[in-house]
């Protein structure tokens, strides 16, 4: 089976690098599956899980938004934070989730903090989801 090189890089260093058969991501416009030989493409990502499928195994990487860059022989994911499922700190994510939920309960009005808390909650839930897989 043909493979494609995938790397997930963050400002704190590369998080994942390997050859896989298929990359499945959640772009802003919807689910996006990429196979080897895809045309060059750029797409923004949602906070979500990236699935990396090779040889019947599926690995999960949690990304907090960012960008997907596709070339025929390589896929690069540029995210401000990303973790492979095994490396997720579940306790920290749980705490972050609680914190964000509290913030959301406190202030129902529309402002920037509300938005930020919402994003934080999304990231925490995403980490927990990915860690649970």
């Amino acid at each position: 089976m043909k493979t494609i090189k995938v790397s997930v890089v963050t400002p704190d260093g590369p998080v994942y690098e390997s050859d896989v058969e298929m990359v499945s991501t959640k772009a802003l416009s919807g689910e996006l599956g990429i196979l080897p030989g895809h045309i060059p493409m750029v797409a923004p990502l949602q906070i979500g899980a990236v699935r990396l499928i090779s040889g019947g195994n599926t690995e999960y990487v949690a990304v907090s938004g960012g960008l997907l860059e596709v070339r025929p022989e390589q896929v690069t994911i540029l995210a401000q934070a990303a973790e492979v499922s095994d490396n997720i700190d579940v306790d920290r994510a749980l705490r972050a989730k609680e914190r964000a939920e509290n913030l959301l309960h406190q202030q129902k009005q529309e402002n920037i903090d509300f938005k930020r808390a919402e994003l934080a909650l999304k990231r925490a839930i995403n980490r927990l989801d990915v860690a649970g897989k």
Partner: protein, 285 residues
């Protein structure tokens, strides 16, 4: 020349001091190694994002974004990166002097600009001079992670988009080698010159170039600032290492000259004692 005990005290205290500076040198050395690794780990991200940004921004000339557009300058912001504390040789003063020169050359009144300060030394400096500090971040770790500075950087970009200022310059120490830091002045916003070494690719955009720029440009500007911070941190630890090494060497020199003084004083005392004894014996005869 002081008494024997005075000199002895001086030697002991200088020795203690040199132990402290030696320890600080070693701490700075280990921080420096890690800071250099962090800066290295950041390179792939920076290169990639630069490449993609250049391809998208240059490849689709019809895509306009507020961060790419020059607008009439009513207010300028200066982002200055300093260390968290002193004892770093000329590290802080160099960058602050360059920033002051840059600001004084461009502005007459304090209302024309705001300061964004990363690092405690810079904050104190600008505060003392009553300059407008729009944002500041202190207590930056020796090995900063992106998550730590994300908020401040995010707000900086947000302020530009909201029109709180119309240009953003950055002053920081660029780490050249362990004995040299160069102060760099760089214009970050608006993003006018996005350089790349690689040939721009032509991409498909999903969903559209505008929407990608919406995500990409803030991320790019944030990474420029974070990259400068990592660079500055490596320089900071190197400067700290050098300053403490010099201090240790100076202390050693001081100890040597004090020891010489001490030995001389001791010999003088012995000689005097002998003369006194001999004198006393002679008087008895």
């Amino acid at each position: 020349m002081g008494s024997l005990r005075d000199i002895k005290n001086k030697i002991t205290s200088t020795k203690k001091m040199s132990q402290i500076t030696k320890a600080m040198e070693m701490v700075a050395a280990s921080n420096f190694t890690r800071a250099e690794q962090n800066a290295k780990a950041f390179v792939p991200y920076m290169e990639k994002i630069q490449e993609v940004t250049a391809s998208v921004a240059l490849g689709s000339s019809d895509a306009a974004h507020p961060m790419l557009v020059k607008r009439p300058v009513k207010k300028t912001a200066y982002l200055v990166i300093t260390a968290e504390r002193g004892l770093k040789g000329s590290f802080n003063s160099n960058v602050l002097r360059a920033a002051m020169q840059g600001i004084n050359a461009r502005h007459q009144s304090k209302d024309e600009y705001v300061i964004i300060s990363l690092g405690k030394v810079g904050r104190e400096f600008f505060k003392k001079r009553d300059m407008n500090i729009a944002l500041d971040l202190t207590g930056i770790a020796n090995q900063p992670t992106f998550a730590e500075v994300k908020d401040t950087v995010n707000k900086t970009i947000g302020m530009f988009i909201d029109g709180a200022f119309d240009e953003l310059y950055m002053f920081y120490n660029h780490f050249v080698n362990p004995i040299q830091n160069d102060v760099i002045e760089k214009k970050i916003l608006p993003l006018t010159d996005i350089e790349t070494s690689k040939k721009p690719m032509s991409y498909e955009f999903e969903p559209s170039a505008e929407e990608i720029l919406e995500v990409l440009l803030p991320q790019y500007a944030e990474s420029l600032i974070f990259g400068a911070l990592l660079d500055s941190k490596a320089g900071e630890h190197a400067a700290g290492m050098l300053a403490m090494k010099n201090a240790t060497d100076n202390a050693k020199e001081l100890i040597n000259s004090y020891s010489l003084l001490f030995n001389r004083a001791r010999q003088a005392a012995i000689t005097q004692e002998i003369t006194e004894i001999v004198g006393g014996a002679a008087a008895l005869e």
